[in-house]
Every structure is written in C-alpha cells, then in structure tokens.
C-alpha cells in the first residue's frame, strides 16, 4: 500500500515538473510529427508495401511504426530525468527517507506513461489529418484500435525501465539522453516499422522479425486493419499480439529488477 502511495507521490512530482517544462513535452511531440510528415511525403511514393507503391498504402503502413517508435523514445526522457535527480542529490534525499525502495523509479515511469499517452493522442490526431485510416486494409473496430494503443503504451512503459537503468548507470543527464537514444535507432530501424521486413537482406530479416519492437508494430497493424502485415512464419510475426505482451512483460521484469537493484546501491 505504501509502495503504491509513494509511487503516486513521485509520479505527481514528475508530472508537475513536466507541466513546468512544457518545452520538453513540445519537443517530444514535434519529432514524431516531423517523422510522420517526412516519411509520408518523402518516402511515400518509393516504398513498396505488399507489392504496392501507392503512397496511400505506405502512409497507412507507416503509422503503426511511427507510433511504436514514439513510445520507445520516452526511454530517453526517463533516463535523463533519473540521471538529473542523481546528479542534483535528490536521489540521496529519497534514499534517506523511509519510503518504498522502488517508488522513485516506479513513480517516474508512471509519469512518463502519462506523457507518452498524451503524445500518442496528439500524434494519432496528426496521423488522421494526413490521411491515416484505420481499417484501410482489413476491417477493424474501436475496441481493436484502443487495444492497439494499449499495446503501444505497454511497450513504452517497458522501455522506460530500460531508460531508468541507463539513467542510473551514467554520470550526467546529457549522457543519459544520448545513451538513451543511440540504441533505439538500430532497434527501431532493424524492424518492420518503416519498411517491409521481407524485403531485407536474408541475415537481417530474422533479426527484424524477432525484434520485440516489430512484434508490437505487427500487432498494431493487425488491430488497426493497416496494410503491410508481414506474412512471415516467425512466431512473433504469426502471433504478434501475444508476442507483444510477452516481450513487454519480460522487459519490465528484467529491467525493473536491475534498475531497482542499481537504485539501492546508487552511490550518487
């Protein structure tokens, strides 16, 4: 009970912070919007999805990838925030208080989840504005679309625990920001997010198909009724919804354990 309470106190603190640094939230929004616009109009006409080079098909294919990439980018924010707390001595203050051990990190990841949800909401509106139409390829319904967003938030939440661990492991907030982003590029690009993974060179293809990130993208495409669902036999591609849930839970279990342990030992 006290653990939940402490986490909520910390989450509230981080949300107040975010509301007082609105530029961070705004930059967090501009980047995915730019990706939507750039990918849609620059790559749109030259990408072949399921044999079609229709820009409209690519546009509808792309959105799940952009959504998924956006939620994973919240990692960098979590990492930088925690590194900043370490740097400024706040983690010492928290560690000297009789509060639940994991609450500082849980609270932070909860606040990031709220921010991610807001970002995703704005991004979905932008996606609809540029012409994303759920049900473009296969029929869908409101519940399925919401389930897709639920999987995205779960993935985002899982990735913030990786960010938390990075934030606790580096010396400065700057290092946490760049360290929190760098690895996301290969993870999000060696996937089915922006291109049809079946067109990748053969050694890269299994990596993309077993990439936890791809599972969520594939699950979203399935739930949204988007085009370009990969017909691969790889288990995560064949059962993307289950794969997405399992991957996210495993990531949380591993990285939460590591991060909380690191937090306890944090020398500051």
């Amino acid at each position: 009970m006290s653990a939940m309470n402490d986490s909520l106190v910390i989450a509230r603190r981080n949300l107040i912070r975010m509301s007082r640094i609105p530029e961070m939230v705004i930059f967090g929004l501009i980047q995915p919007i730019m990706f939507v616009v750039l990918f849609t109009y620059v790559f749109g006409g030259s990408m072949s999805i399921g044999g079609s080079t229709d820009p409209d098909v690519y546009k509808n294919f792309l959105m799940a990838g952009i959504f998924a990439q956006t939620v994973t980018f919240a990692t960098a924010g979590a990492g930088a925030g925690i590194a900043d707390d370490m740097h400024k001595g706040l983690i010492d203050r928290f560690r000297s208080l009789p509060m639940a051990r994991g609450a500082v990190l849980t609270g932070r990841t909860m606040a990031d989840l709220v921010q991610t949800a807001l970002t995703l909401l704005v991004l979905a509106v932008v996606a609809l504005l540029v012409g994303w139409r759920p049900g473009y390829a296969e029929p869908t319904n409101f519940g399925k679309v919401m389930a897709g967003f639920g999987l995205l938030l779960l993935l985002g939440y899982a990735f913030t625990w990786i960010g938390a661990l990075i934030g606790l492991s580096v010396r400065t907030p700057e290092a946490a920001t760049s360290g929190g982003l760098i690895w996301l590029f290969p993870v999000t690009f060696i996937s089915n997010a922006f291109v049809d993974s079946s067109q990748m060179v053969s050694w890269l293809q299994p990596i993309a198909e077993w990439n936890p990130f791809s599972a969520t993208v594939q699950a979203c495409r399935t739930l949204f009724g988007d085009p370009g669902v990969s017909p691969s036999d790889a288990w995560p591609m064949a059962h993307p919804i289950w794969a997405s849930i399992i991957y996210s839970i495993v990531i949380i279990a591993i990285f939460r354990t590591l991060a909380v342990r690191k937090y306890r030992q944090a020398a500051g």
Binding site: R12, R13, R93, F94, R95, S96, L97, P98, G268
Partner: protein
C-alpha cells in the same frame, strides 16, 4: 547521557581508496559534533554510512539507538539529512517540495501540507512558498533543504557541509537556524571544512583526516593542544625581515615562521599583552617599521595544522613541503575565509 549516534570501526573502501579507515564516533543525545576535515577526508562517506545511503565494509553503527545495518528503514524514520548539495526539486515550489517529503515520510497529504506551511514560516520562506525553487537564492535553497530534513522533527540530524558556498550573511542566517534547532534538543552531526563553523556550532569536534579521527575534544581543548598564543608582525620593508626574526626569536618560545611575500612573521609566545608591548618597543628601538602587529589566539586552523601538518583547505601539498607549509597555510586561510 546515552549516545544518539555511535559508530565503531567503520571502514569503507572505494576501489583502492580507503575513504573510512576505522572511524569511531559517539555523539551524546542533544549535543552537536562537528566533523572537521579537508575535502576527501571521509566526512561525507561517514555521513552516508550513518544515514543508510552507503553500507560500510566493516564496523557497526547505531543511530537513535537503532542498528544502522540491521534496521535501515527504522533509522530512516528517525533521521533528517541535509546534504552538501541543496537537494530540492527546482521545478517544484518550496511548498510542493516540503509536502512531497512529508508524504514520503508517510504523513497524510493534509498533515504534510500543514507541516510544510509551518516550516516555510519558520525558515522565512513564506513569501516565496509558491515559487519554483529554481528562482530561490543559494541561501534560500539551503534553508529549504534544511526544512525538508526537518519535516518530521527527527531526533537526530545530519548536515553535510551545510554552508559550503554561501556568502557570509547567508551563512550567519543558517547558523542561527541551526542553533535554534539544537537548543530544542536535536542531536546533530555536522561536517564542515570551515574551522570557524565547527568552533561556532559544535560542542565537540572530531578532526578527520585520511578516513580516521585524529583528534577529538572541545574547541578549547583542541586549541590548548596547539599551545597558546602567537605574535604576528607584518614588517614594512622586506630588508627588515632578518632583523625582525632576531627580535621575535628573543621573545618567542619557538621558531619564528616567515612568509616572505607578505612580510608576515609569526612566533609562539606566552605573556600576552604585556609581552606584545615589549616586542613593539624592541622593534621600534631597532628601527623596524611595521605595518601591522597583533596577538593572535590559536584558531582551529592552527590546530589542524599542528595535527596533520597541512591545513584544512589543502591536502595535496601536505608533507611535500614541510618548511613552507605554515606559510602556505596562512595564505590559504585567507582564501578559505572569503
């Protein structure tokens, strides 16, 4: 009197650096112990061990009668920590900061809010209570940090260099707050590199160097160890230094220390003001013009120097340059006093 803080044989090693090398401490209830030492002496590590932030490699400690290693959570409920860096959230207002800390001490939201209001009044932060802490001055942040450590009025307080980096006015203000606190019966362990601060606030002083307590006593006891007073003379002309040293050696109980570039000579003496008058007459007879002369009682800086061979503000030069250590120490003290 029972000990509010007791440590025996604390050892903590980081890599091949022995930060604590067998530290014993005891602080009777309701008293203030000043932990005095240069940067890197182990003061902060000792505080971190006693406040459960670090686990010592060896040794035992109790705080408020509770075993630090066995029941860290119970210790956390009984201590307040005010760190070297003012650990407040700069984007939260003063009020929000204190309320958050209160809630994390497991107070209910309402009680935490009421307590925050009280503390803001007490620490003269009421006017700034609803401004983000990043708009606060350095002194205000320290006060807020201190207030955060006092949310539950813990019986035992730790302050790690509470006034480092503050200007004299703010330092004085914080000292007043600390004195008030202690007069209410709180036990305090305070670390400082300012000798003046330990002298001012602490009942007892433990001098720390290289992870060990090298001396312990009241300020007066430590001063007495260094041996009485000194006469300090600044001669006007550099050429007169040699003659002046002759004069001073005639009166002094020991060697005269010379600081060439400031033309300052210091010699230990006994005899007080009467002797000082004699020294002035003799210097005058010999035709030595002086810029300044005075009787100086030993400061804790002298204590530190006599105990460690180096001054509190410097560490690296210790022992490498014995002859001028005293002179360097004096120059250094001026910097430290700014």
């Amino acid at each position: 009197m029972p000990a509010a803080i007791k440590a025996e044989g604390l050892v903590k090693t980081f890599g091949d650096v022995k930060a604590l090398d067998g530290v014993d401490l005891d602080v009777p209830e309701g008293t203030v112990l000043g932990l005095l030492g240069p940067n890197g002496a182990g003061k902060t590590t000792a505080v971190r061990c006693l406040t459960t932030l670090l686990r010592p490699d060896r040794g035992t400690a109790t705080v408020a009668g509770i075993d630090v290693l066995k029941h860290p959570d119970a210790v956390r409920r009984s201590v307040g920590l005010s760190g070297q860096f003012a650990a407040v959230d700069e984007y939260l207002t003063g009020r929000e900061n204190l309320q958050m800390v209160g809630q994390l001490y497991q107070m209910r939201a309402k009680a935490a809010k009421a307590r925050a209001g009280e503390l803001l009044e007490q620490f003269h932060l009421a006017d700034a209570a609803d401004r983000p802490a990043r708009t606060y001055s350095g002194g205000m942040r320290r006060r807020l940090d201190l207030a955060a450590a006092l949310v539950v009025s813990p019986p035992v307080m730790f302050m790690d260099e509470p006034t480092t980096g503050l200007d004299p006015r703010n330092r004085q203000q914080l000292w007043d707050v600390i004195k008030q606190l202690v007069s209410g019966g709180t036990t305090l362990l305070l670390t400082t590199q300012y000798l003046e601060e330990a002298d001012h606030l602490a009942h007892d002083i433990a001098v720390v160097d290289h992870g060990r307590v090298i001396a312990r006593g009241t300020s007066d006891e430590l001063k007495a160890r260094t041996g009485g007073e000194r006469v300090e003379v600044v001669v006007h002309e550099r050429e007169h230094i040699t003659t002046a040293v002759d004069v001073l050696n005639g009166f002094g109980k020991g060697e005269t220390a010379v600081e060439q570039h400031t033309r300052r000579l210091t010699v230990p003496v006994t005899g007080g003001a009467k002797l000082l008058a004699e020294v002035i007459r003799e210097l005058d007879t010999r035709g030595i013009e002086i810029d300044d002369i005075g009787l100086r009682r030993p400061t804790l800086d002298d204590v530190f120097l006599s105990l460690t061979g180096h001054t509190a503000e410097t560490k690296d030069e210790a022992g490498t340059d014995g002859e001028t250590a005293d002179a360097k120490g004096r120059g250094r003290r001026k910097e430290g006093a700014k």
